[in-house]
Symmetry: C2
């Protein structure tokens, strides 16, 4: 058996998220159907992370076990021939047997894009969240600094999630602006459910002047109600998984 | 009667081009339906230029005559409320009676985007033409230089087009590369039918090493067969009309 790592990108607009579920079109279901077509057998993949409905990926990673003679470098072409145009495999590699897309990951990088033009830019309407209000990105950067580091991010987790620990290490949280697009890039050793979108929603409230940039108290509260709203899914892209 | 100028953007993916035609969904038809809804009367618009099926716009300009009390600055909001999400009016201005979207234009700017990554980037698959082959952009820049200026562009016009003169003045033809996207920006006082896409197709042949960068002979031939292929529509965006 070989352990194969795939890097894939997808436009999440038309999918009910990554993970397979009954009666819904998901990225995983499409990918596994393509793998079955190529290998002639059922293949179950393990992903670095699940993405929600409408969330995109440029560097999602999965791995799976299979016995095949197809050289890994041919796999992207073989799989893409069976995948719809909104899912593209960009890399396939043979990895050691103990490689696990989720547990072996050192960190993941997400990027959220906000379109701050007076009217939504049509060509990015599915990939950037349009906000009618001006954002003070200096205030947002000031607020973001408090989130970098090892913290208990319970306040930034969708309520009702079950996890062993709510401590996560945010390695980087950058906010940039170019051509009226504000981009928030966040890298962490792991993310709680909806963590990126709640952080973005909270930072937007700061940028609009509706919330103090001092987020230390929000972290300390360990209460979802202390943080801001959950920003819409379509502005979010899973950019990279680092191993 | 007032003469009103609108600036609009659209994703051309789902339209049979700009211009109204029988039994086909076009941008103009959608826009005129929105104008009728807002003004309560039939309105016919004049556009700066027609765009083909699949071609996008970020700065298309139209004008029309109407008698209304709605202040121009309110019009984008009123019209967008009646338009689908892939057509967005970004500006409305009252202009002098003699302003004509097409005849008053000094120049138009188009941009063509080529995705040169090994696999197509999914999030730009409708807005960039994916090319599997590497391009030598220095050769393309060298070739482009010959096209700048006042020339007879008959070789770069779809055959069968009827125009008074095939002379056009190309003011600027820039080729840049960033993040594996090659962008070709071209500004001219006017364009012949398919001129941008034939220029792009010809420059791609140069960039792939399949054609000499010396395009002076192509211009001189005054024959469509002397130029290269017509690049696909979906990489093209009408960027701006200058008055």
């Amino acid at each position: 058996m070989q352990n194969i790592k795939l890097t894939l990108s997808y436009d999440g607009t038309n999918y009910h998220g990554f993970q397979v579920q009954q009666n819904a079109v998901t990225v995983q279901a499409q990918l596994e159907a393509a793998l079955q077509a190529v290998f002639g057998q059922a293949v179950r993949v393990t992903a670095a992370g699940r993405t929600d409905t409408g969330v995109h990926a440029l560097g999602q990673v999965v791995n799976f076990q299979v016995s095949t003679r197809i050289p890994p470098e041919r796999l992207p072409y073989a799989l893409n021939a069976h995948l719809p145009a909104d899912i593209v495999v960009t890399k396939a590699e043979l990895v050691p047997p103990d490689f696990h897309a989720r547990y072996s990951a050192q960190s993941k990088v997400y990027r959220y894009t906000i379109d701050c033009a007076p009217f939504p830019r049509v060509l990015t309407r599915y990939y950037a969240y349009h906000l009618r209000y001006p954002l003070d990105i200096h205030l947002m950067q000031e607020a973001a600094a408090a989130l970098v580091g090892k913290h208990d991010f319970r306040s930034f987790m969708a309520s009702g999630s079950a996890v062993k620990t709510t401590e996560r290490h945010v390695l980087r949280l950058e906010i940039t602006e170019q051509d009226q697009y504000v981009q928030i890039t966040i890298e962490a050793d792991g993310f709680l459910y909806n963590m990126v979108r709640i952080i973005v929603g909270t930072l937007i409230e700061v940028g609009r002047g509706k919330r103090s940039p001092d987020l230390a108290a929000v972290i300390k509260a360990r209460d979802r109600a202390a943080a801001g709203w959950t920003a819409p899914a379509h502005g979010l892209v899973m950019l990279e998984v680092k191993y």
